[in-house]
Symmetry: C2
């Protein structure tokens, strides 16, 4: 698959376990070798695979966690790095995310996720 | 200068024109060749150099815009890309930023900026 299309597919694949509440799938989405980082909406930085994946397990096992809908993904390719920006809609609240993927064994894996609220009034 | 230190220096240099209200300096910070993108706190995505730089000119010429203080920058290097995450404090409000830099003529230039609020209660 062409690299840009593959990066967009990886971005979609990142959101699938969110709705499927599948922690094992979420684990497989994230980069293995890299020092991964994650900023949930309103949170401080989480750094390292253990802390990041623990935060996702807590989110995925929270019965009150609403589903996520995403759209408008745009990808920017730079060698072994793909920067994807997309909209997120969680329980009716608009968010915007930066997702940075790294090529590991020819597969795009998530290196950094940063999601924050869109408060409206522009764009 | 070693690449990681240079990326951290580029990240600091990005915030200098903010406090100096220097639009020309801000222009020079951003990548030339790349399709730059910017997400200000609470905003939707801005895409392309013209729109991104116009938003910064508006911010820098706003007399009510408070100063920014930054800290805790962490860099992750991947070939010609550096992903920097740092804290921002704007008018007493805590924010967190993802800044993605690309090497252009051996100089780190800003490709993507995403800043969003930290609402407290974690980290």
């Amino acid at each position: 698959m062409e690299l840009e299309a593959a990066a967009l597919a990886a971005n979609e694949a990142f959101y699938a376990p969110f709705n499927q509440k599948d922690a094992a799938l979420m684990d497989a989405i994230w980069a293995d070798s890299a020092d991964v980082t994650c900023i949930h909406p309103g949170w401080n930085l989480l750094q390292g695979r253990d802390g990041v994946l623990e935060s996702w397990r807590n989110i995925l096992t929270n019965p009150a966690q609403p589903r996520i809908v995403t759209g408008g993904a745009k990808v920017s390719l730079h060698g072994s790095i793909a920067v994807v920006v997309c909209r997120e809609l969680v329980g009716g609240s608009p968010l915007i995310a930066t997702n940075v993927f790294v090529l590991e064994s020819e597969t795009w894996k998530l290196l950094h996720h940063h999601s924050g609220p869109v408060l409206g009034g522009n764009g």
